[in-house]
């Protein structure tokens, strides 16, 4: 199905049956610089679409993470907690942040496909 992106630089990728993975875009990790700390929610917590679900810190900044689709947290990537640099190395693959049970899969339609996201990013610069 591929990734869909929010304008706040998170991506979501549906895995199966309303279970989806969420992370930040490669563009976002480049902008942030070295990621040194992540604050991610506990499994079981619920968030609505666009709600802040955590914080990502680089050496020079603190940024909020917004859930691109509403749902319940099913898993948190312990690898990025232990090694935040993984987000820089592989933001759109191994550096995923959380897995979510989607409350409404159709919410994904309000997000941008990869091409549109890259266009959005290049216009913002």
């Amino acid at each position: 199905m591929g990734k869909r992106f929010s304008q706040t630089h998170e991506w979501v990728e549906i895995e199966n049956n309303n279970r989806a993975r969420v992370g930040i875009s490669d563009y976002a990790q480049k902008e942030l610089g070295d990621v040194v700390f992540l604050e991610l929610p506990e499994v079981g917590k619920e968030f609505t679409q666009g709600e802040q679900f955590g914080t990502i810190e680089s050496t020079k900044s603190v940024s909020e993470l917004y859930l691109p689709v509403g749902g319940k947290i099913l898993a948190v990537n312990q690898k990025v907690i232990d090694n935040p640099a993984l987000v820089n190395q592989s933001a759109e693959q191994d550096g995923w942040l959380v897995e979510v049970e989607l409350e409404d899969a159709s919410q994904i339609n309000s997000l941008l496909g990869k091409e549109d996201y890259l266009k959005f990013v290049s216009q913002a610069e």
Partner: protein, 377 residues
């Protein structure tokens, strides 16, 4: 006022460096990763463009007398070819800026922070009317590079700078070179590692930068930006003006009493004694014991929940693999190994105080042939 560029700006741009506005200058904050750059300086060597800093020259028969009056440290004790860390204090003993003072044969040189250069120059001029001195701000004529790390000396030897490689810590010399004009080279720096700072005329900047880069290829030289510079100086325990201290602070609060020569005819003499006697808080380092990134102005509490201070500097230290920081705390907490709590986004996380430096420094005391001793602070 538009932002300024150093003479090496286009080289940094060509390297794809991430550029930020620092004190009105477009400077590289990192070339690759500030964490990797800061680690490289402590493993091999790094090269920094710090041309944004200011150079103020003081000449005239009463130069020493004037500087002894206006600078905090004992200027009279400086010998030719030596440099000295100094503070400019106002009459209330508040810190105007910190800088390095160089004593050359015919002049004194002050290398000051970029942000404070204009302010410092105006201050010096305003206080010099009773003295036979000439003060000139010549910052725009010079580039300044910092070569920092254990491989620095070998790299200088690779270029025709063998004499400079023999300098002792906090000493400098003027060297005429075939390719780079006249260079003022000092064994000094802001990283806490052995290293050199090189001052020269703008037209030679690019050639010297590229020559150092080329010579550095055999020694794992990394280009480093201001991000790495900030991490390194915090690890070394060096304060940053404007962040760790400002005009509201006196030297004793910032643990810079050692840079103050008491008992001399000095502009801040009266209020210095008071400042020392009425000390309420002091700058101390700390290491986070629970994972979290302490940043400027986060409040500091004790175990009982009393507010005892605030953070000023904070960083993830790649060389310690820990989150560290520094800030002001009530006097009874300004000692080693005190338990404090930093409030980070409504959670109070545990930290332990630490005296500076955070790690063993590589700066060399003594110098010249064979007499090199590593200092532990």
């Amino acid at each position: 006022m538009s932002t300024k560029k150093t003479v090496l700006y286009s080289l940094h741009q060509a390297k794809g460096a991430k550029i930020i506005d620092f004190a009105g200058w477009l400077m590289p904050v990192e070339y690759t990763s500030m964490l990797k750059e800061a680690a490289a300086v402590r493993k091999s060597v790094g090269l920094f463009d710090v041309s944004h800093m200011g150079e103020i020259f003081v000449r005239g028969p009463e130069s020493e007398k004037f500087l002894q009056y206006i600078c905090s440290n004992d200027v009279k004790s400086l010998k030719e070819g030596q440099m000295q860390y100094n503070l400019l204090l106002n009459a209330q003993a508040g810190i105007i800026d910190d800088f390095m003072l160089y004593k050359a044969r015919d002049y004194f040189l002050l290398i000051v922070n970029a942000a404070g250069c204009e302010k410092d120059y105006a201050w010096l001029k305003s206080k010099s009317s009773g003295f036979r001195v000439e003060i000139k701000n010549q910052s725009e004529n010079f580039f300044l590079l910092a070569l920092q790390g254990r491989k620095s000396e070998e790299i200088l030897r690779q270029l025709e700078l063998r004499e400079a490689a023999n300098l002792g810590y906090m000493h400098f010399g003027l060297f005429s070179t075939a390719g780079f004009g006249s260079l003022l080279i000092s064994r000094s720096g802001y990283s806490g590692e052995d290293g050199f700072e090189i001052l020269g005329e703008n037209k030679f900047a690019a050639l010297l930068w590229q020559s150092l880069e080329k010579a550095g290829r055999d020694f794992d030289l990394w280009l480093c930006g201001l991000g790495a510079r900030d991490i390194l100086r915090l690890e070394a325990g060096y304060p940053l003006y404007g962040v760790d201290m400002n005009e509201e602070n006196n030297p004793y609060e910032v643990s810079l009493g050692w840079a103050v020569k008491e008992g001399k005819n000095f502009i801040a003499s009266e209020n210095l004694t008071q400042a020392k006697a009425w000390l309420e808080k002091k700058r101390i380092g700390f290491i986070m014991q629970e994972r979290g990134f302490a940043r400027a102005h986060y409040p500091i509490y004790n175990a009982a929940g009393r507010l005892i201070g605030e953070v000023r500097s904070g960083a993830y230290s790649p060389n310690l693999d820990k989150f560290i920081g520094s800030g002001f705390v009530a006097l009874d907490y300004a000692q080693e190994n005190k338990e404090i709590f930093i409030e980070i986004r409504k959670k109070r996380l545990r930290a332990l105080t630490k005296k500076f430096p955070f790690l063993k420094l590589g700066v060399r005391k003594g110098g010249g042939d064979g007499k090199k001793v590593f200092a532990n602070s």
